[in-house]
């Protein structure tokens, strides 16, 4: 019963974040970038400025609303890249086996050996800050789990009757992988993907803190939080709202991931790290 609460609360939080991102132009009061008016700098929250204003006089509410776009783009796209890489490598490795499997295994071990945040940091250092770099950095560094799961299920599914039947029927490898194997491993992969999105949003914040985040002027929650950290004692609203946005979204994704796991992948509850 509790499991369903996970799913509902998590799904609601995530859906809310998505909705806010999609409807940003209608929800926001002002343009998050161009409407800087230094005359209104650092107003505390009020009826006019729901979340207050920042040191450039920009409406924090509007920036948080628009920030959903950037932060969710980072979370969703980078995790999508991870999932695609992980599934493509894991599925093909498990299905074909042989030297390709060895190569994928070596790659996976390599990825597991380098802490992903450090890897992302290195990539960001090379590419320079910015949204594209961030998507690449976070999208290339967190696929090993997906890959392992995909490989394991491909291995076990390969020997199943219906897959062999498909082989006998003369289906191509690609078709078998896409139609027979992929649908059967989607559950755990969606779960990992959901949780991965949450950690990508957090990684974005961490990289922003290290000075390697999204390129302004477009706001991301991570960069807003990072910029506001100096004023935590004097203008706390600067950091409270983006901080809350990150917290609630990632919380939602984590709860959603847990809930999905209970539904889609009940037997692996304890196996995940």
């Amino acid at each position: 019963m509790k499991l369903r609460a996970n799913l509902i609360i998590g799904g609601a939080l995530f859906a809310l974040a998505i909705l806010v991102g999609l409807l940003a132009p209608w929800l926001a009061h002002t343009d998050p970038v161009m409407d800087a008016n230094l005359l209104n700098a650092e107003e505390p929250p009020s009826w006019t400025w729901w979340f207050g204003t920042d040191d450039q006089g920009r409406d924090i509410y509007s920036r948080v609303v628009y920030g959903a776009r950037v932060s969710l783009t980072v979370g969703i796209i980078s995790q999508l890249i991870n999932s695609i890489i992980g599934v493509a490598l894991g599925l093909s490795a498990g299905y074909w086996g042989g030297w390709w499997d060895d190569v994928v295994n070596a790659l996976t071990n390599l990825m597991l050996a380098i802490p992903s945040l450090i890897f992302a940091l290195a990539i960001m250092a090379v590419l320079g800050p910015g949204l594209t770099s961030l998507l690449i950095a976070l999208g290339l560094t967190n696929w090993s789990f997906t890959c392992r799961i995909a490989r394991a299920s491909a291995l076990s599914l390969r020997s199943q009757g219906y897959v062999q039947a498909a082989t006998v029927l003369g289906y191509g490898d690609l078709r078998i992988m896409m139609t027979q194997l992929l649908p059967n491993m989607l559950g755990p992969i969606v779960v990992i993907g959901t949780l991965g999105m949450g950690s990508a949003v957090l990684s974005e914040a961490a990289l922003s803190f290290l000075g390697l985040g999204v390129r302004p002027p477009f706001p991301s929650w991570g960069s807003m939080l990072s910029e506001a950290r100096e004023q935590i004692t004097t203008a706390p609203w600067l950091s409270v709202f983006p901080g809350l946005a990150i917290f609630l979204t990632v919380l939602g994704l984590n709860l959603l991931g847990d809930g999905l796991r209970d539904i889609l992948d009940p037997q692996s509850r304890s196996r995940r790290a």
């Binding site: 970038v33 040191d55 390129r215």
Partner: protein, 529 residues
């Protein structure tokens, strides 16, 4: 030379200095300073690093031939008692101190200075101090490997040194930073030196926890009688401003450099207001424009940009008043600063008109390279963008790291950039950066070329009369204003918070964190043992 009071002192700073004067310095105690520029010291070999961060500890550990005197606003002799100039202003003969002891107990002689300068000119090592020592005749030959020793340095006796320069400059401006610190000739060559450096400064090295702190203790044989006062100095590395803020409020550190946001917060806080110390530093913040980018080749466009930006508003609101409005290149503290000059007014209509005259009635788009720096980087750019937008100019941000920005600026690989550049303490050297003979990578970052300007600067360099020189430099500075190779943004106002028990803080316009620590002392209210 004509001097002007260097430090533009806030009333509070003066008051603090005044009380310090009135009390008798207490002996003993621990001074806890912070190194705010990054999360480590670069090196214990101060010759290898030019970061302001490293000079903070070097001020305690090392000494150079000259030292910056904040009260007088110029470098003064430190390791020499007197200097005589001859040979048409090129030959300087120093009478050295005979009471300066290295921390291993050995007395300093002229050999140590010669050895140190020769070391700095080792071309295989590319020590950053080479650009200062290069002013001595024969130094460049050593750097290129054509000579073993600098021919322009001559030891007359143990305590007399003759130095022949290549041009007529004041050597004080060249030999006062820690980059030209004097090492003990014998010890400095050893491998162990970098682990346990030895210097001539008022404090000797105790330990360095990389990334954390340097601890130094009083050197009893320091040459200034009765000094230093404190028993110990701890320089903690604290790059994170938020953490520094908490630590300062928590009384864990004695000094903290304040950014704009904290500057405002501290001013608003009755308990902290009294801790603020501020000074105009010799740094000019500006947006450099690349003349190779077509719109910026036109003077009117560059002027239009200066008109289009409400610089005062940015300084008061965004920089929180933690800066002085720039009129032209030379900072307020420069002897050649012309008080009569007025900065560009905020006049979007005029900007629009100039743009139309220049052939850009509907504006244009350019790429603006910036770092994340809060005082002269991204936040400023973000505030300027909407202002430029109002006159039709679209700026696209390209954010890079500070190190990359430095590279970009030197290579000229930009359309526009925002930067902070030293514009002192030597006004002559500062303006020389815009001389057409100065290559872009050296410091002529906007690749400025103007024959009239060259002439003014050259004449100033030849002038023997200080007043005449100032006048010429003022003219050159005014010409820069008119040509507007950059958007003149501001001169930095360095702000430091200093705990009430730490006395003797000097208002150093070259870098506020660089304190002659032998003059600092803590009273008994300090919580540190």
């Amino acid at each position: 030379m004509m001097f002007r009071m260097f430090a533009i002192v806030a009333g509070l700073g003066l008051a603090l200095a005044a009380t310090a004067e009135a009390q008798t310095p207490r002996k003993g105690g621990t001074i806890r300073m912070t190194a705010p520029y990054g999360s480590s010291f670069t090196s214990l070999d101060i010759h290898t690093t030019q970061r302001a961060q490293d000079e903070i500890y070097a001020k305690a550990l090392h000494r150079s031939l000259y030292i910056w005197n904040s009260a007088e606003g110029k470098p003064v002799l430190e390791l020499a008692k007197e200097v005589t100039v001859s040979g048409g202003g090129l030959v300087h003969t120093f009478k050295l101190r005979d009471d300066a002891y290295f921390h291993n107990g050995r007395k300093m002689t002229a050999d140590d200075i010669i050895w140190s300068y020769n070391r700095i000119m080792d071309g295989t090592k590319a020590y950053p101090g080479a650009r200062f020592v290069r002013v001595i005749e024969g130094a460049a030959a050593v750097e290129k490997g054509q000579a073993k020793e600098i021919s322009g340095l001559k030891k007359i006796d143990d305590f007399t040194l003759e130095m022949k320069l290549t041009e007529k400059v004041d050597p004080g401006f060249y030999f006062f930073t820690a980059l030209t610190s004097i090492y003990p000739a014998d010890e400095g060559a050893k491998e162990s030196f970098i682990q346990k450096p030895i210097g001539l400064g008022p404090f000797k090295f105790v330990e360095h926890v990389p990334g954390s702190r340097i601890v130094l203790e009083r050197w009893d044989r320091f040459y200034k009688p009765g000094k230093p006062y404190a028993d110990k100095i701890i320089v903690s590395i604290m790059g994170e401003a938020a953490a520094r803020d908490v630590a300062f409020r928590n009384k864990e550190i004695d000094t903290s450099v304040l950014g704009p946001a904290q500057y405002v917060a501290y001013q608003a806080d009755a308990d902290l207001k009294g801790t603020i110390v501020e000074v105009a530093e010799v740094f000019t913040r500006y947006m450099g424009m690349n003349p190779a980018f077509k719109p910026f080749a036109d003077k009117r466009v560059r002027q239009a940009i200066n008109y289009a930006i409400d610089t005062d508003l940015i300084i008061s609101k965004l920089v929180k008043g933690k800066a002085y409005r720039a009129t032209s290149w030379l900072p307020l503290t420069a002897p050649a600063y012309d008080k009569a000059m007025k900065p560009y007014a905020y006049d979007p209509a005029k900007a629009k008109q100039l743009l139309t005259e220049a052939g850009y009635p509907s504006g244009f788009e350019f790429e603006w390279t910036t770092s994340q720096n809060e005082s002269w980087g991204l936040p400023i750019v973000s505030a300027v963008i909407p202002m430029l937008d109002k006159v039709g100019i679209k700026a696209k941000v390209k954010q890079v790291e500070t190190a990359v920005l430095a590279e970009v600026v030197r290579s000229g690989d930009y359309q526009a950039f925002i930067y902070s550049q030293a514009s002192g303490p030597d006004p002559q050297a500062a303006l020389k950066c815009f001389h057409s003979s100065t290559p872009q990578p050296a410091c002529n970052y906007t690749n400025f070329k103007n024959a009239d300007f060259d002439k003014l600067v050259d004449e100033a360099g030849q002038a023997d009369d200080p007043a005449k020189r100032v006048q010429l430099l003022q003219k050159a500075n005014a010409l820069l204003y008119e040509e507007a190779p950059v958007w003149f943004f501001n001169y930095n106002k360095a702000v430091m918070a200093v705990q009430p028990w730490l006395k003797g803080i000097q208002l150093n316009a070259t870098e506020l964190t660089h304190q002659n620590v032998e003059d600092l002392w803590v009273d008994e209210t300090s919580p540190a043992k």
